[in-house]
Amino acid sequence: MSEPILSLAGVTKSFAGVRALVKGEIDLYPGEVTALIGENGAGKSTLVKILTGVHHADGGDIRFNGEPVHIGSADNAGRLGISAIHQEAVVFDDLSVAENIFVTDRPRKRGMVDWATMRERARVILAELDPRIDPRMPMRQLSVAQKHLVQIARALSNEARIVIMDEPTAALSHREVEELFTIVRRLKAEGRAILFISHKFEEIFDVADRFAVFRDGAAVGQGLIRDVSRDQLIAMMVGRSVDQVFPKTVVPIGEELFHVAGLSRGEEFADVSFGLKRGEILGVYGLVGAGRSEVMQAIFGLTRPDHGEINLEGRSLKIRAPEDAIGAGIAYVPEDRQIQGGILRFPIASNIALPSLSHLSHRGFMRRADERALAEDYVTQLQIKTSGVGQRLEELSGGNQQKVVIAKWLATNPRVLIMDEPTKGIDVGAKTAVYRLMGEIVARGLGIIMISSELPEVMGLADRILVMRRGRLRATFTRAEATPESIVKAATDA
């Protein structure tokens, strides 16, 4: 058996009293993919940040090819050949795609930045990931998923011996994930060690050779993937067994609640029409970049459609800005929760209460106690891991931040709830909790529009499934009609 290239033992890290890592242990082997799994807040990203020199470990032992090393800075990590795709999008919006890829190591000629080579190399790497991305484009123009792809390209650009991927597939759909896995297998064949973090078990069993499980900051198991089952992994992760993953509540479907007719906007989407009934969960499937989020942003008033009608309960709505949509009872849980969803510097309680302030205030004054009570209720329901509702959002783990943003919109009691990738980055246990809450919402006669790139989720939860491709609706399936093949075909067939 080969020796691990990187080996961690007893690594610890605390943030102002919060113990993020208690016993970080993992071994990475050249030519193998090791999956790191654990609930939201288990300490996975903290470990990644220690390995990439963003954080310093408080204690513990890190060995590189058997030699103890001190990482300490991003430069040192780079010298050891450690490269990472971080969970949050760490990109430069006003720099070009090419420069974003090569930001740590720009190609040079006689000491000067060699733009031509940089673009060319970027083009070659992007050709495999998404040929539609032009290396000269400013990053700002890319979708969330494409920004993720650029970060993947960044990790591939240098000759990294250890590639770390912290939830790289969270924003990607089926096909992009396949493409990513092709690349992962190639990296493996080239003898690189890969650390792969994901909450999706299909992916872990598809791509990983080994696993390591963290619970509450401590390693609770390591081994070979072929020796374990999904249920065993889950049991290690949560310390108990988790039942049914898609608890579909059967709700009687009522009359039409919401209707969109002929919605078009510029070159984003055209002629989108659909209805939503009371008690219905409407799934919207498509490849990344199909225009699904753009349609929802237009409905919510974040952008203005060129044409089209929006009706709620038979009344035509004039939505000019998100306030109008919120006032009418439409809520939107955005896909990019870091940028669009929450105020990172604010405490959890304020974040959750923000769009519901009018219910919580009395004659213009906030009622703090109600704000806390509301927040605490959702923290329990969604199993948000935090030291208290006064903690700042930026201090939560990625998955727990997602939950706060979901809670914030659920708390507005919307009539129509639009959720863009609702379970992105959320662990198994909390996923079930989100699904159950969605069931409770529709049981009250409300409607949910759920954008999702996860086929099992769409098929498991939606009563009806719309499929978008290239800015247009291409197909509609009822729950009974839908098969994975037919949905994927509608999403990809040209």
């Binding site: 430069f92 919006d93 930045v113 800015g471």
Partner: protein, 332 residues
């Protein structure tokens, strides 16, 4: 593969601003042909060269999400010091004068940068303080006295005026600073990291870029340029005193903002700043020619600056949306 993005990228912001500046020049010239008189143009170019130099320095700081309010005070102090040096060592020649100006300016910039980087005080607070400190130092070193042209040696005064191809050395230096700054920002790793640090400090940290160090570097560059401008200023106007370039930092920042440098960091470039400086210079020089009273001049130039800034901000906010629909379908 169909190309979805990048098919039609908007014209760069500099083109619009350049056209606006040309239109302004044409307008003024049509109304007052006297404006295009050679002497007037020369003084316009010389004035503007100083503004552009200082604005280029300021741009470095703005790019890293800071602001340098001390540039004009730095220029005044450095200008006074080199004028006194020249008065004491009239035979030293031009080279020591320029070296002293640059090194001293850079040192004053380093002081700002150090406080921002290591002591972590916001740049607006730091430079609001050093703005007064540096001005106070002018008074200290000069004892409040003026250094007049009579006390300056001939080389000190004539160097900046010496014409090459009909253009003064002063203007050539302004051009040289702009070109060097352009090359630095476009082709060096440090220059690119300056953009990255200002565009997203968090992401820059992940990429191993020391944001504080980049901010400090920006202040040193800004200070070095301000120091050099200090000598040029004092030599051009043939006098050094406490209030040299008093309040000029506001025009410098205005030139940057008109030129498309974002106050929130990471966006902007030398070309825009140069055009922004020209735009402002034309207005400043045109108003007296037009014969507007000095009090009204301030209001008019303020108004024009505001309009230019608003036009500018608008061009950033425009959201064109992405191109998702197939080309053939978009038109249907």
């Amino acid at each position: 593969m169909p190309k979805i993005f990048g098919a039609r990228r908007g014209l760069p912001h500099e083109v619009g601003l350049g056209l606006l500046t040309l239109a302004l020049l044409a307008l003024v010239t049509i109304a007052f042909p006297r404006f295009l008189v050679i002497d007037n143009l020369k003084s316009l170019v010389d004035d503007t060269a100083l503004l552009i130099m200082l604005a280029v320095g300021e741009m470095f700081v703005l790019l890293t999400r800071g602001v340098d309010l001390s540039v004009a005070a730095n220029a005044a102090l450095t200008g006074m010091v080199v004028a006194l040096f020249n008065a004491h060592y009239p035979g030293a020649g031009i080279l020591p004068v320029i070296v002293i100006a640059i090194v001293m300016g850079a040192a004053l910039g380093l002081f700002n940068g150090f406080l921002v980087w290591k002591v972590r005080i916001p740049s607006i607070v730091v430079t609001l303080g050093t703005l007064s400190v540096y001005r106070g130092c002018v008074y200290l070193v000069s004892g409040g006295a003026w250094v007049n042209s009579g006390q300056m040696s001939p080389f000190f005064l004539s160097f900046v005026r010496f014409p090459i191809l009909g253009i003064s050395v002063l203007s050539w230096i302004g051009l040289l600073v702009a070109v060097l700054a352009f090359l630095f920002l476009r082709f060096t790793i440090a220059g690119r990291n300056l953009y990255a640090a200002g565009n997203n400090p968090n992401a820059a940290g992940y990429a191993g870029i020391d944001v504080g160090r980049m901010q400090c570097l920006a202040f040193v560059l800004s200070g070095a340029i301000a120091g050099l401008a200090g000598y040029l200023w004092v030599a051009r106007f043939a006098v050094a005193y406490t209030d040299v370039a008093s309040g000029f930092e506001l025009q410098v920042i205005a030139a940057c903002v008109i030129g498309g440098v974002s106050i929130t960091g990471g966006v902007g470039g030398v070309v825009g700043v140069v055009i922004g400086g020209l735009f402002l210079g034309i207005i400043k020089n045109a108003l007296p020619v037009v014969g507007i009273s000095p009090f009204f001049q301030m209001a008019v130039s303020g108004f024009v600056i505001t309009v230019a800034v608003i036009l500018n901000a608008g061009s950033y906010r425009k959201n064109h949306g992405r191109k998702i629909l197939e080309r053939a379908e978009a038109s249907s």
